[in-house]
Symmetry: C2
Subunit: 248 residues, 2 copies
Amino acid sequence: MSGTEQPPRGIADDGDAFHFCSTCAFSAACLESGYDKSQLRDLHVLVEHIGPFHEGEHIFREGDPFTAIAAVRSGTVKTYVTDHEGREHVQGFFLPGEVIGLNAISQARYPSNAVALDSAILCRFSFPNIAALAMRMPGLQQQLFKLLSLDIGKAALLSGNFSADERMAAFLITLSRRYAARGFSPNRFVLTMSRTDIANYLRLAPETVSRVFRRFQDEGLIHVERREIELTDRKQLETLSSDVLRTA
Amino acid sequence: MSGTEQPPRGIADDGDAFHFCSTCAFSAACLESGYDKSQLRDLHVLVEHIGPFHEGEHIFREGDPFTAIAAVRSGTVKTYVTDHEGREHVQGFFLPGEVIGLNAISQARYPSNAVALDSAILCRFSFPNIAALAMRMPGLQQQLFKLLSLDIGKAALLSGNFSADERMAAFLITLSRRYAARGFSPNRFVLTMSRTDIANYLRLAPETVSRVFRRFQDEGLIHVERREIELTDRKQLETLSSDVLRTA
DNA sequence: AGCCGCGCTTGATCCAAGTCAAGGCGGTCC
DNA sequence: GGACCGCCTTGACTTGGATCAAGCGCGGCT
């Protein structure tokens, strides 16, 4: 990770790795596996808190050698690639609790860039170490398989043949669910990404994003003001997105 | 898997699981891990050859409980979902050596349908068993992580914002590379799927697929006749697809 | 052989979303 | 405070690909 400009912070400032890492996707898996003192010591070596990265700062870049996956602890991270005409293709937005870098395993290099959209703190897990640990903790291995499998499904979502309205509704509903899962309000939240980012994620022009927002608002589905959004007709949005989200 | 109408065949008709399973993606991983007699016995329990499925026959259906992943041994498998307007969304085509079912792990159900496009034989791996075995064979665990990670990348490919030409070129080039990797001719092969399947995979109308084929042929990039295709200007196709395939 | 039917091709028209162009609205920095 | 700058919105026009509508041709079946 090229984020090494920022010295790691907060490591071992607490006796319990799980306590100060409550947002990490692995905590539950480790806990339910049952762990002994020696395993706990492994986790201290394993987990490194990095950041804060501030807006626009990169966590890793395309082509960097893959060493670690990372769970977002706070803030938002965007992953993207740029094609040789300079068009940016946004691959995903990652909220607290979500894990980046899983698609780097197969090539041992990060296939995309990861950048902070706001002030972001992450938990970094050395992949060789966590894989080794998974050899001894079935629950952790299972959790890793699940996370990887989940990402396959996520990527498949937006590859379907859907209209701008369907994709936008699906985008809002998944954001809502993901915030809700972390204890935030499902119906009022802040869009931490620009319209252009949303457009590049949904394969739309920024103008189209703007127009869909406006139409959704005129139809009473949402209320947007700058980057604050409220979902005012969740049912309708769910309906619109049902084909896109079939699985979720 | 609902393919249990077909009795498993070919199991244990040979003393060496790797020998009669040479197309399976796991053989190499197992071999390089080094294995002893007891592990070999596990593999006999683990691997089940199923099929042949004939054209149109389903290997599993959406919602079936997830029990196993499967490597295609011969033939072609298509995975797809159907939305509530009856539109079919093709998620992927799987050639010999490729593994289906990986996206089912996270929900413990298959999220899509898998159907044979021609006569197909598969190797079925009980997932609980192979995961358990992976706990003892680091190379196998690594191979599973790689396969999963690879699929994340694959799914991301076609989710980008690309033209019909770019997507078609990318489709042909990846098919070519995958056949080449299995020792088949990279420049002449048979499209085992219908134009409609290709269209549903590339998010195009069947008419558009037909027209792009024609234009590519007129421009000397390919020669198509029914389902036989020859890539006559690989360089040009590679160029067209370079943005789509950036990673591969 | 001759008929049928499906998958494919081809042409004509349409439309959703993209592109181009012109402001507006904050926020920031002098 | 005012001018600049980036992000967003809005409107007018264009376009790539979808849709609609015939035909075509091979393969299977009687």
